[in-house]
Amino acid sequence: MSFHAALRNATKSVFLRVEEAFDAPFGGRDNPLRHLGAIGLYLLWIVVGSGLYLYTVLDTGIDAVYSSIGYLSQEQWYLGGVLRSLHRYASDGFMLVMMLHLLREWSYGRYFGFRLYSWMTGIPLIWLAYVAGIGGYWIVWDELAQLSATATTELLDWLPIFNEPSARNFLSPDTISDRFFTVLIFIHLGVPLLLILGLWAHVHRISHVDYLPTRRVMLATAAALTVLALFRPVLSNPPANLASVPGELAFDWFILFIHPLTDLSSPAFVWALLFGLTALLFALPLLPHGRPPPVAVVNPANCTGCDRCLADCPYAAISMAPHPGRPGSRLAVVDPDLCAACGICAGACPSSTPFRRREKLVTGIDMPQLSVNALREQLEAALPRLTGRTRIVVFACDRGAAAGKLLAADDTAVIDLMCTGMLPPAFVEYALRGGADGVMLAACREGGCEFRLGDRWSSERLLGEREPHLRHSVPPSRLQLTFASAHDSTRLATALTEFRTRIEALGATTDRLQPYLRRAPHHA
């Protein structure tokens, strides 16, 4: 294993452990670590909203800019002061969440293949966020703004960009004019607009985007930042005076850390670090990776053009085109560059029902590495082998708990899936009619699906909230949906034991489904 892979796995392990620990108080849907992107967007909207208010009251005169912002904190603390603090703290939170998001996606290996576009479009956003953040500090024009403006221009001047050193603009008090702040405001509005545009591009190639976290997360985050704003309101440092060097300053390490770093090292070191890290992030996808798995394949004869695969694909890899053989009908088309090979489309296809009598089950859209027909064959082979009082079939995501190794027994058949979202719900009924006493579906923890939506779609299909749904005639008592991550083998084993006990407690109930024996029709 390479050093990079070892580092990535170690980081992933830390993230997984913390995420799973957070599941206890938050639950999957509200777990902040599983929704860092959505929380980042939410924080950005707080920044934008509070910033619009600050913009309306800001006076861009050279002296008035300091006093107009100071007025908010001193005289109008209950509104302007709180909004100013929210603007600052939400910006800091955005930086923190953005870097955690980057680190998490890297550690999970989400930077190549079908995720390449999102990775590449995300990297420039980091630069835009810091440009917007640093520029925002200048607007206050206090001593911190002076330090940042001077240090930033001195850093920029190391690059051969300007004919004259830009730091000359901050040599003495008479070198600054009112126009500087007007230009600065336009930059501070323009760069965030570019950032929002870039974010739109960043999520453009995925579907069902969480543009915002859950209402509970939004309320709690806003409450936490508001309490912080009230108890520790943001205040200006003394006004800028270019005739002297700022003294000891309350310093924002989330955004302005680059200045102490430059003072400690040199502009050459800082630029080498920044450009080096950026180049490294861009180059990561070029590292050798395993061969990508085969992508979904459409069978035109069995595709009805129903759109369900289009609706369920987490990565917008499917589009609909006119069916070449059936005028007026449509046909699913897979974009191989975007396909994650999760199989969710096969699970969504109404043609994937195992009750079809054809000897070889050919569905509308399928995965070459684990076709729906192979899944049915595995199930049909496993069911007769089950012995014991309570026979259970477990469909488990092979990225979740190691169900296959732990749970397989004489009375338990385990069928691994690339993602539980690839299981057509009819397979549950098919297993029960084929002799199983119960069916367990072991999905990844809520919000922890490698393919974003597998656990959600599985749950909604089985609960009848999403097509294709499990038929209502299937007794819920014989179905167990369990969410388990790779670290949850014990939890999964316990859930299976409890499920078995529950089924055995049912005794000779009348909720058993009629057996179904598939027979190949003569014309097949």
């Binding site: 957070f22 206890a24 108080p25 938050f26 639950g27 509200d30 902040p32 600052r88 703290y89 800091d92 939170g93 923190l96 330090l147 240090a151 001195e154 001047d157 004919n163 004259e164 050193p165 730091a167 000359r168 040599l171 003495s172 709690a220 985050t221 409450a223 936490a224 930042l225 309490v227 912080l228 108890f231 520790r232 943001v234 270019l242 005739a243 002297s244 060097v245 700022p246 003294g247 000891e248 300053l249 309350a250 310093f251 924002d252 390490w253 989330f254 200045h259 102490p260 003072d263």
Partner: protein
């Protein structure tokens, strides 16, 4: 419905998030230079001189009447030689080159020097036409710097050349 333990856990974790942001948004404080230090900024942006030559009457006679400029000045600018001494010690020596593809742009320099606050003897010498020996601009004076004061060494031909501000 959340369990009480989950609510307590969430309050603690959201509180920790806010506390983390609140702390590092302002702390630890940063001190760019020590209190007893002042800053001298050397910042000069100046077009070097040109090596002009007076045209002879014969040369002028051969030229069209509307183009008979008495001086022949090349586009290129001279390098600029610059020296800074503080309390008799050399602190900076450089030769500034003109910018631009045709070496016809300004020569610039921007340097910071941290010095102890107090009285110092500062001498700056500049030659904007290195064809000529010596320095055609010299400024030397005793300066008194307060702690954290910023003093600028600049050049403006309209203000007599080199000056301290």
């Amino acid at each position: 419905m959340l369990k009480p333990a989950a609510i307590v856990g969430q309050v603690i974790l959201y509180g920790a998030f806010a506390a983390f942001i609140g702390y590092f948004a302002t702390s630890p404080t940063y001190h760019q230079i020590p209190d007893d230090v002042a800053l001298i900024k050397l910042s000069i942006s100046h077009l070097g001189d040109r090596a002009c030559r007076k045209r002879t009457p014969e040369e002028l006679a051969k030229m069209p009447p509307n183009m008979r400029a008495p001086m022949d000045c090349p586009r290129e600018r001279s390098d600029i030689k610059l020296e800074v001494d503080l309390d008799g010690r050399e602190v900076f020596r450089t030769v500034l080159h003109p910018t631009g593809l045709y070496k016809d742009g300004v020569s610039t320099v921007y340097k910071r020097f941290e010095v102890k606050a107090g009285t110092h003897q500062l001498a700056v010498r500049m030659n904007d036409n290195v064809v000529n020996p010596g320095f055609n601009f010299v400024q030397e004076e005793e300066i008194s710097l307060a702690p954290r004061q910023v003093m600028v060494i600049d050049f403006n031909p309209d203000q007599g050349g080199l000056y301290f501000k």
